[in-house]
């Protein structure tokens, strides 16, 4: 009947083939199509081998080395190492070769092991047996031998070996159920449909006789999109052409459920399956700390180069007199003399570079990596972030961003499922203006006998009773809920109240809530069987409706419809959707009453849906059928055409009523948001929900307060005025305020300050973002950003997923470059999670897609508080100290070397022995800082949680600012000067000799250059380690062990190193040097003196800063007696007043006030409050 239509489509397709060759044709079972059909270009397809491994056995070493040396730091060290090998340098190549070799080897082993695991997994996957049909028989083969076009049989609970077109199933209706848990994390069962013309083939022989070709697009990564066509050839007739959609496609990685076996034809294999195409790794995110680290690195590189340059130039100036260059006692070799001057100068420059190269230590990278990797375990170990209900703990998908958690300035949060529980509960329905409330008891528990209905309005008449039942039937029928009767369902949702345990499963929790709600009102949806939906009505009679069409839900239309045929033969179209998408299509019904009810509900934070219907006469239905069939066959723009068709079908509806579903706020959501705001973080809510609902949620979770003046930037407002005017008006309002009051950063939330909340919707946003004709779009953006910056809270509603990412990007790229964090739970949040600096996924009900794509995943929104305020804060201070300290200790290490050049004729003579050069960063000073960076807690966890404003202390990368960096560098320089000149004056004025009288006369000897270096080195190791000890605020036994242990190790090592003539060394310059030094009194005195002098300025600076300009953190740190003696802090009192006022004036309509008063108020000393940590 519709062959002509199909043919035209085929022709259209063929005509367009020149510009669209990206299709593939598959001969099902490798059978050539009968002659006469269009000739297809044969294509080569890959086999079904999955290769996730990066390396093979042969290319591992070169490829891995290449990958590793692409990192700038590694490359730099390689160059230094090579220079040391090639030219005559002061230090042996071992000093930089050994650490580099260590780093490279460890990384290579780690990557090799990971790759080996991947190989193993690949092999297991590629070799697992697959059944497929050959010449009418079932054959078992390895998965990797599968080819495109093979017919495959899959049994229950098996995983599909490749992407298949679903041909037939053991179920009579030609359906099968699959779960895609390993693909997108959704554990619900999804129904797929076999191709109509082939679903009759149940045996191997039958399926082998199938003669068909499949045309489909080339593989693309979108899991939910597929267009194709199947031509089934019969011997006599024209080929039958059927459209194929994603419902006919079974994806590799999905699991067959509840179906004995299915047959399918392979269309995408191996690396072309949609699963493999989705393997593509995310782009690497880099933290702000890493960026500043790289900047510091460049600074040090410049210092290094200039040091080397200065020394080279001075060397040649100094040497210009020949008696200095080559005195009689120190002649050059002939080869040296004859070398070209420039070459010599260049080699000297390189030698100086090598001498000073330790200023950029390899070990810093290792330590930072280790700190991040090991440190991230503290997140996964955190018991407070473990959710009892779901049994989920936090997940760390990348440890590169730990410290970024302490730098967040903007939090973009999704509403549904993130702020709210996404645990829908049917609240009420409104039919023709009458409100029905099922008996509900709080906490989502329903009393068993709650089948009655509260009539709030007057009791309905007879005709309205008909309407009422139609409404309930509509709710029972218009959905995509599945009923599960088996027991082993993942994530069951028991339908409460009913005697038999039937479980509703749907990808949308709203639908489940509605079906369950209707069940309590007397209509129970039983099942879908052979295209008939069965309903148990109030009179316990079973009604059967034939399901004719489903016009599925999409986020653009925001509605869905079903077309059903009742037992009496009447055809209905039921439509359910958002009010804004239903009302314009309604021609009849009590629109006004329902609209007012819907708006009221929306203000209370309920999710509302409107239900409408339309009775179709058979002719109309025929037309609809044709229209749908035509669009479904289309290969190009099918989505668009479908949308157009739906638009045509869903019109002239009769409004039945509306439903309200409550999505309760997550536990402690308000508390968390309040804490984040106090921490100076701006919280934006980005939601697809409508404005009223979203605003209500914002009030409920204290994002907006009663005192907040709301600014609206919505489509409605823009319709009244032009965008230009609205924007300017708003900015005037906001800026006038901020202009008159000097905005104190710290008390930005104080009560006398008018704070603004901005509401913007998706349409208005796209207007702002849209570049104008004259190309001056940035004007609006700047203006908009200006307004946003001055608002304490922003709500963006009606956002498409991509718009969420756009907003994040807009803020991210604004001129302050703030650090952004996006948190969400659904697939629609993935784009913003990937866009933001830090993406956090809530392990929620809407699948795990967000959690999988995120950097960190947490079970509940409330855990964000601890994540940022405690973990983020700790990681930030830990890593910033780590970075600064590393640079500091290497300045201390290298600067004396630089100074020594002035006293050794710029001859690149090292101050320290090779062993000490190598081990300084590897073992003498490495562990204390690593452990510090894992364990440090400058204030206690409880204090951080109680006082969110401490987070402001570290905002804007405070500990890695230039000022701090320069302080540390100068401290390093000062210490280096102290070490060097301290030792210098010891040696210069007189020979430091040994104790001649107490000990035997034979040991009062001269100390040489190695003793000089040893003295400097000893003072340095002690100073540098004690400096860290001074910075440590949290001394666990581990810190004690490591700090004192590494000092002890240094001494023991030195005793050993100097105590033996090491046979493998060709020099014995360190022999007894350390011991001789220790046996000299002045050396001890000098060590004590110089260490004291080295530490003095830092201690002084610390004490003075704490006393004169204390930060909030330091105030909290002060020991209790002081604070207690001072009595209650005046500021605290004011703070408390303001807060209690705030709590008291909360609008009573906004749900239960959360959190006990004052849980986050006291900012005094830990001991003074009642919440003393235990």
């Amino acid at each position: 009947m519709d062959c002509s239509l199909v043919r035209t489509l085929v022709h259209r397709y063929c005509a367009g083939e020149e510009n669209w060759v990206d299709s593939r044709t598959i001969y099902v079972g490798h059978r050539e199509p009968p002659p006469g059909t269009e000739a297809y270009i044969p294509q080569r397809y890959p086999d079904n081998r999955i290769v996730s491994a990066k390396y093979t056995f042969w290319n591992f070493i070169p490829k891995n080395l290449f990958e590793q040396f692409r990192r700038i730091a590694n490359f730099y060290f390689l160059i230094i190492f090579l220079v040391q090998l090639i030219i005559d340098t002061p230090t042996s190549p071992v000093t930089s070769g050994l650490p580099l070799f260590f780093v490279i080897t460890v990384t290579a082993i780690k990557q090799g092991y990971e790759d080996w695991l991947r190989h193993k997994a690949d092999n297991a996957m590629n070799q697992c047996p697959v059944h497929f049909i050959q010449h009418g028989k079932l054959v078992r083969k390895q998965s990797r031998k599968l080819r495109v076009g093979d017919i495959v049989m899959v049994k229950e609970n098996e995983i599909f070996p490749c992407d298949l077109i679903f041909l037939s199933s053991s179920r009579g209706d030609g359906t099968c159920h699959v779960t895609t848990a390993s693909l997108d994390g959704e554990s619900s069962h999804k129904t797929h449909y076999a191709v109509q013309d082939t679903k009759g083939f149940h045996t191997e022989e039958e399926i082998d006789g199938l003669h068909a070709t499949v045309e489909c697009e080339q593989p693309q990564p979108d899991l939910y999109k597929f267009v194709g066509r199947i031509n089934v050839y019969n011997d006599l007739n024209d080929p039958v052409v059927r459209p194929l959609g994603s419902e006919n496609l079974l994806l590799r990685g999905a699991t067959l459920k509840n179906t004995e076996k299915i047959f399918g034809v392979a269309i995408y294999t191996g690396m072309e399956t949609k699963m493999a195409l989705n393997y593509q790794s995310k782009s690497q995110k880099r933290s702000a700390v890493e960026k500043s680290m790289n900047v510091f690195l460049i600074v040090y590189l410049c210092i290094l180069i200039s040091k080397a340059l200065i020394n080279t130039v001075l060397k040649y100036v100094w040497q210009s007199e020949p008696f200095r260059d080559e005195p009689w006692y120190n002649q050059k070799t002939e080869a040296e003399r004859q070398r070209n001057l420039f070459l010599r100068a260049f080699t000297d420059f390189l030698a100086f570079m090598v001498l000073f190269n330790y200023i950029i230590p390899v070990s810093m990278y290792v330590t930072v990596e280790m700190q991040k990797f090991l440190g991230s375990y503290f997140i996964t170990w955190d018991e407070d972030m473990f959710d009892e209900d779901t049994g989920e703990g936090p997940l760390v998908n990348t440890s590169d961003l730990n410290e970024e958690l302490g730098q967040v300035e903007y939090v973009f949060t999704d509403k549904t499922g993130t702020l709210t529980e996404n645990n829908m509960e049917f609240k009420e329905c409104c039919i023709e203006g009458h409100v029905y409330v099922p008996h509900v008891v709080c906490n989502g528990q329903v009393l068993p006998d709650s089948s009655g209905i509260d009539m709030i309005d007057s009791s309905p008449g007879v005709s309205s009773r008909e309407r009422e039942e139609l409404f309930f039937r509509a709710l029972c029928l218009c959905h995509t809920v599945q009923v599960k009767d088996d027991d082993d369902v993942d994530g069951p949702r028991m339908s409460p109240g009913s005697g038999k345990s039937c479980v509703y499963i749907s990808s949308s929790p709203d639908e489940v809530a509605l079906v369950e709600g209707v069940q309590r009102l007397g209509f129970t949806y039983l099942r879908l069987k052979d295209s008939y939906m069965e309903i148990l009505n109030r009179d316990s009679g079973i009604e059967r409706f034939e399901l004719l069409e489903i016009l599925s839900f999409d986020s653009v239309r925001r509605r869905m419809s079903v077309i059903v045929k009742s037992a009496t033969g009447e055809i209905y179209l039921f439509c359910k959707g958002a009010d804004s998408s239903i009302f314009p299509r309604v021609i009849e019904g009590k629109v006004d009453q329902i609209r007012s009810r819907v708006e009221r509900n929306a203000v209370e934070g309920l999710r509302t849906l409107c239900v409408a219907y339309k009775r179709l006469i058979p002719e109309e239905y025929e037309g609809i059928c044709k229209l749908l069939q035509a669009t479904k066959v289309a290969l190009q723009d099918r989505e668009k055409k479908l949308a157009e068709a739906y638009e045509q079908i869903e019109k002239d509806l009769i409004l039945l009523g509306a439903t309200a579903v409550e999505d309760r706020l997550q536990e402690k959501a308000a508390d968390t948001i309040e804490a984040l705001q106090k921490a100076g973080i701006k919280v934006w809510v980005l939601t697809g929900d409508k404005m009223e609902t979203a605003a209500a949620t914002c009030y409920a979770c204290k994002l907006f307060r009663r005192s907040t003046q709301l600014l609206e930037l919505t489509t409605k407002k823009i319709e009244e005025q032009s965008l230009h005017d609205v924007l300017f008006e708003l900015s005037k309002t906001v800026l006038r305020c901020s202009g008159s009051l000097a905005r104190d950063n710290f008390s930005g939330l104080s009560a006398d300050m008018q704070d603004y909340g901005l509401i913007i919707d998706g349409a208005a946003l796209s207007l702002i973002m849209k570049p104008r004709e004259d190309g001056s779009s940035s004007n609006y953006r700047e203006l908009f950003l200006d307004i946003c910056r001055n608002c304490s809270a922003v709500l963006c509603c009606r956002m498409a997923p991509l718009q969420k990412a756009q907003i994040v990007k807009l803020i991210k790229l604004s001129k302050e470059h703030p650090i952004t964090l996006a948190i969400g739970d659904g697939a629609n949040d993935v784009s913003m999670i990937l866009e933001a600096h830090v993406g956090i996924g809530v392990i929620g009900k809407e699948g795990r897609q967000a959690a999988r794509n995120s950097d960190y995943a947490i079970p509940k929104f409330k855990h964000l508080k601890k994540m940022l305020l405690v973990h983020g804060h700790f990681y930030y201070i830990r890593i910033s100290e780590l970075v600064q300290y590393f640079f500091y200790k290497n300045v201390c290490f290298i600067f004396p070397q630089f100074l020594y050049q002035f006293f050794c004729g710029f001859s690149q003579q090292t101050l320290y022995d090779t062993a000490y050069l190598t081990l300084y960063n590897i073992s003498f000073t490495s562990l204390p800082i690593l452990l510090y960076s894992l364990m440090e807690q400058h204030v206690s966890i409880d204090t951080l949680k109680r006082d969110p404003s401490l987070y402001r202390d570290i905002a804007k990368n405070a500990l890695l600012r230039w000022r701090v960096f320069i302080y540390w560098t100068f401290l390093g320089l000062f210490d280096a000067l102290v070490f060097f000149f301290g030792a210098y004056f010891m040696f210069e004025n007189t020979t430091v000799t040994n104790n001649g009288q107490i000990m035997t006369t034979s040991t009062h000897m001269i100390f040489g250059n190695w003793t000089f270096g040893m003295l400097v080195f000893t003072v340095m190791v002690f100073t540098v380690t004690l400096k860290l000890a001074l910075d440590t605020h949290y001394w666990t036994w581990i810190n004690h062990f490591v700090i004192w242990g590494s000092l002890l190790f240094y001494i023991v090592f030195s005793l050993l190193w100097g105590g033996i003539i090491w046979p493998f060394l060709n020099y014995q310059r360190m022999y007894y040097v350390f011991i001789q030094m220790l046996s000299s009194g002045p050396a001890w005195l000098a060590v004590v003196l110089l260490v004291t002098v080295g530490l003095l300025p830092d201690v002084l600076k610390k004490v003075l800063c704490r006393q004169l300009w204390p930060t909030a953190t330091e105030r909290v740190q002060s020991p209790c007696p002081t604070a207690a003696r001072r009595g209650p802090h005046p500021q605290e009192v004011a703070f408390t007043f303001w807060n209690s006022e705030e709590y008291a004036t909360l609008p009573p309509t906004l749900g239960p006030a959360q959190g006990p008063l004052g849980s986050s108020l006291s900012r005094g000393c830990p001991g003074s409050g009642p919440e003393m940590p235990v």
């Binding site: 009689w328 006692y329 018991e383 001859s907 206690s940 020979t991 006369t1001 009062h1004 002045p1082 002060s1118």
Partner: protein, 325 residues
């Protein structure tokens, strides 16, 4: 990333476990370490805690400094053992080319190294096709002036002061690090096949008549081989031992220093010195350490006072400041 969860479940007082056995195994351990709640000492550097430290440092350092200073200045007295040094200035013993120009194996008596010295010794490795022993620039440039000290009495001819040659090098250097090559009856035989350093007058086995102070274990040689840290340095030359408690080691009088001038220093603008010194409990004369101790002690004491004032002032002003916020 591999997650490491132990199935061990230590719930103390927590809410009962969630339904489903899976929750139990994923639950993190409630150990002090994993929860970052290890018992810890949490010191804070405040004015209160640091003040006493400053005063203590002051109180300890100043007396030490004075003690050192006084002892150091008393060293003038020529009593007890007197040490005789020679000093060189502008002599870069710490030049890299110079420092590495030696072969420790050869000096340790290794026979193969004796005949085939390390390449580091170039250009003082071989002379006239014979290996140099000891090789290298350091050995080649050994200080070879002879210093003799005479007391000019009132009446008689100058009496020479006994200068002890031994006991001036580190014990370990003399006995472990430096060794003459093995074999041969006489020292000359042991050094057979080698030649003397170019600048030396005599071969290494003729450095001294005492067999215990000859060859590589000659103490003058060992002292020279310990390269100085700075271009101006002094090295121990001789010991003048105290004979009895009654007489000073070097009694007051006129002395006569006889220098056999061999060592050229003019070419590199150098200077030679001879120093006589005694040694106290803290080494030779060194005013630096004493002064430094006194200075740091005073600064520390002063800082303590300043901090005390600031601390006092701050407390008063801070309360008023807080009220105005």
């Amino acid at each position: 990333m591999a997650m490491n969860y132990n199935s061990k479940d230590e719930v103390d007082g927590g809410p009962p476990c969630a339904p489903g056995g899976t929750a139990k195994s994923r639950r993190p351990d409630n150990t002090a370490f994993k929860q970052q709640r290890l018992p810890a000492w949490q010191p804070i550097l405040t004015a209160g805690t640091v003040l006493p430290t400053f005063f203590i440092i002051g109180l300890i350092f100043i007396p030490i400094g004075i003690g050192i200073f006084v002892t150091s200045n008393n060293i003038r007295e020529i009593e007890g053992n007197v040490f005789m040094y020679y000093g060189l200035s502008n002599f870069y013993q710490n030049h890299r080319r110079y420092v590495k120009s030696r072969d420790d194996s050869q000096l340790n008596g290794d026979s193969s190294a004796l005949l085939n010295p390390s390449k580091e010794c170039e250009p003082y490795r071989r002379n006239e096709d014979k290996p140099i022993a000891p090789c290298g620039a350091i050995a080649n440039s050994m200080f070879n002036d002879t210093l003799e000290l005479f007391l000019i009495g009132n009446d008689s001819s100058p009496t020479p002061i006994t200068l002890k040659k031994k006991g001036i090098a580190w014990w370990t250097d003399k006995n472990v690090k430096f060794r003459n090559p093995p074999g041969g009856e006489t020292l000359e035989e042991r050094f057979k096949g080698t030649t003397k350093p170019v600048n030396w007058l005599n071969p290494v086995y003729m450095l001294d008549s005492d067999p215990d102070n000859n060859g590589f274990i000659n103490e003058d040689f060992i002292v020279w081989m310990r390269t100085a840290a700075l271009p101006t340095f002094r090295k121990l030359y001789r010991l003048i031992e105290r004979k009895s408690d009654l007489h000073p080691t070097l009694p007051a009088g006129r002395y006569y220093l006889n220098i056999t001038y061999n060592y050229p220093v003019h070419s590199f603008d150098g200077r030679k010195r001879m120093i006589l010194s005694t040694i106290s409990w803290m080494g030779g004369k060194n005013p630096f350490l004493g002064i430094a101790y006194i200075a740091i002690g005073s600064i520390s004491f002063l800082l303590g006072v300043v901090l005390l004032v600031i601390n006092h002032k701050y407390r008063n002003s801070s309360n008023t400041a807080d009220i105005t916020i």
